[in-house]
């Protein structure tokens, strides 16, 4: 009998504790971000999709189509076409086909690049309506980086 009653009382106390926790939270501020209106402040190392930004000093990208990124990619998401312009020693990428559909955002291509020509941007809203839009030619895109990432790119992945 005593056990029966004490168990009921213990049970009620534990239930009250639970109610107390939720009650306490009722007076806390919501932690959620109202996503499309408010966006989280992302750290500089964040890995969105791959871009090949314009280097403002050269007014062109830094790619030489050396294919190291192609070799580094575990998923064969990158294909390049090389072209050597007249009067220049270094070859250039005529096309840099990046397959967003198979990319798994691992950053291995960026690490492989000896010139710092490519970088993972902050873009993470990557849904498209047509599959063909997932094939992106990064050379033709002439991407311009902004904000934190730009500094990160210009200093060849050095943080301040």
């Amino acid at each position: 009998m005593i056990k029966y009653v004490s168990e009921i009382i213990k049970g009620i106390i534990s239930l009250m504790q639970g109610l107390g926790v939720t009650l306490k939270h009722a007076f806390r501020k919501p932690i959620t971000l109202q996503y499309p209106d408010v966006k989280a402040d992302l750290p500089v190392r964040v890995r969105g999709r791959l871009v090949m930004p314009i280097d403002p000093e050269k007014n062109d990208n830094r790619c030489t189509a050396c294919n190291l990124c192609v070799k580094a990619c575990p998923n064969l998401s990158i294909r390049t076409e090389k072209v050597v312009e007249d009067g220049k020693a270094k070859p250039k990428a005529a096309k840099y086909n990046y397959n967003l559909a198979t990319c798994m955002f691992c950053n291995l291509c960026v690490e492989a690049c000896p010139f710092g020509a490519i970088i993972m941007s902050e873009e993470y809203e990557l849904a498209v309506r047509d599959k063909s839009e997932l094939m992106i030619d990064l050379v033709a895109e002439k991407y311009v980086l902004k904000g934190k990432k730009e500094k990160y790119f210009l200093t060849k992945y050095k943080e301040e």
Partner: protein, 377 residues
């Protein structure tokens, strides 16, 4: 159209109360795409056959065609709740094959991220488990802290779930600026939150009634089934690879394996709650002890280990995460076998659920903390 052809279950015809119930692959509480075929009598589970393979991706075959360095991102996708532990087991194996000495700072960083991942994984387990037993609020509370850790990890490696941070020989980059401030802030308040979690769900009388004495896993059975991790320690076996193998710098850190005695569902929950607190202790120590210096050892550009075979294992949040590599001296591994804890942990389910109710089956499934991509690979 009856799709039980593959399943050796038969409801007996003379006992009219028996019937077959198909639970999953799309069921709210089978955690991913696991299919359980149950033989029930009323609500009591008479027999159970797990049907697996819905998310099999053939990772082991993929690995045979990838260079050693390219394998790491795939490992994130086995146990995606604690990706760094998988990465660690793999890079440790390659380092052992090539006899690479990892810098001290990197070793401490590895411990920090492994423990952060452990807390992340346990927090997700807690929230999902709350859903399993019908409490919907724990999810939000646990995700609040999990988000904090993910932000920390994201600042360090840029990925939220698929981290791809460990490298053969150390780390891709050093820790970002301000990382320790974030960590300090997290450590300072996390213990209180664990108290809250316990008050809200684990110590609730309704939950205790449901969990105590349910799904009892005996120590000998657990070892025989190859169960590892918190599930094994809840049964009273003092086996923690962080202590036993003392890989990395775990030998220099002070912590204890969180043991429980009964091996029932409640003990498994309690063991995980205690483990979160222990991880916090480890993080605190690492923060004080971490030295300055390089984070990457000198590693040849093309990774080409000598022929041989190696097996390394780490203590993941779910148990023994092991990687077995057979190298033939080329750039690509000859064979990689992933030994994942959920594989063995789930195999015990038949042993411990028969005779319980459906509601218990859900509670036991949740308390085992299995993750299906890890089993299917």
């Amino acid at each position: 159209m009856n799709n039980y052809s593959n399943i050796p279950l038969q409801a007996s015809n003379n006992g009219a109360d028996e019937y077959i119930l198909n639970m999953g692959p799309q069921h709210p509480s089978t955690h991913g795409v696991l299919r359980l075929v149950l033989k029930l009598e009323g609500e009591t589970v008479k027999d159970i056959v797990p049907d697996l393979g819905y998310v099999h991706r053939g990772l082991e075959k993929l690995f045979e065609n990838r260079a050693y360095g390219q394998i790491i991102p795939y490992l994130d996708r086995t146990d995606y709740l604690s990706a760094m532990n998988n990465e660690w087991a793999y890079v440790m194996a390659v380092e052992k094959l090539m006899a690479i000495e990892v810098p001290q700072r990197a070793e401490f960083m590895r411990v920090i991220f492994a423990e952060l991942n452990r807390i992340m994984s346990h927090l997700l387990w807690y929230s999902a488990y709350g859903m399993d037993v019908g409490a919907l609020t724990p999810l939000l509370y646990a995700f609040r802290e999990r988000e904090e850790i993910i932000d920390m990890v994201e600042a360090a490696c840029g990925g939220r779930l698929t981290h791809n941070y460990y490298r053969i020989g150390g780390f891709r980059q050093d820790l970002p600026k301000g990382f320790f401030d974030m960590l300090k802030k997290f450590i300072s308040h996390f213990n209180d939150k664990v108290d809250e979690y316990e008050a809200l769900l684990i110590n609730n009388v309704i939950f205790m009634k449901r969990a105590q004495g349910v799904g009892v896993l005996k120590k000998e059975t657990a070892i025989n089934y190859g169960v590892t991790g918190p599930n094994l320690r809840a049964s009273g076996a003092d086996i923690d690879l962080r202590k036993q193998d003392a890989y990395g710098v775990y030998g220099r850190l002070d912590f204890k394996a969180c043991l429980r005695d009964n091996g029932d569902t409640w003990d498994r929950c309690k063991a995980r709650m205690a483990e979160m607190r222990e991880s916090l202790k480890i993080l605190k120590q690492c923060m004080d002890m971490i030295p300055e210096g390089e984070v990457m050892a000198k590693v040849p550009k093309i990774i080409k280990p000598a022929a041989g075979e190696v097996y390394t294992r780490v203590e993941g949040p779910k148990g023994e995460v092991g990687v077995y590599i057979v190298s033939d001296g080329t750039e690509k591994p000859y064979r990689i076998k992933l030994r994942q804890p959920s594989f063995s942990n789930l195999s015990v389910i038949k042993e411990i659920t028969i005779g319980h109710k459906i509601a218990d089956l859900v509670a036991i499934m949740g308390s085992l903390d299995v993750i299906i991509p890890e089993i299917d690979r």
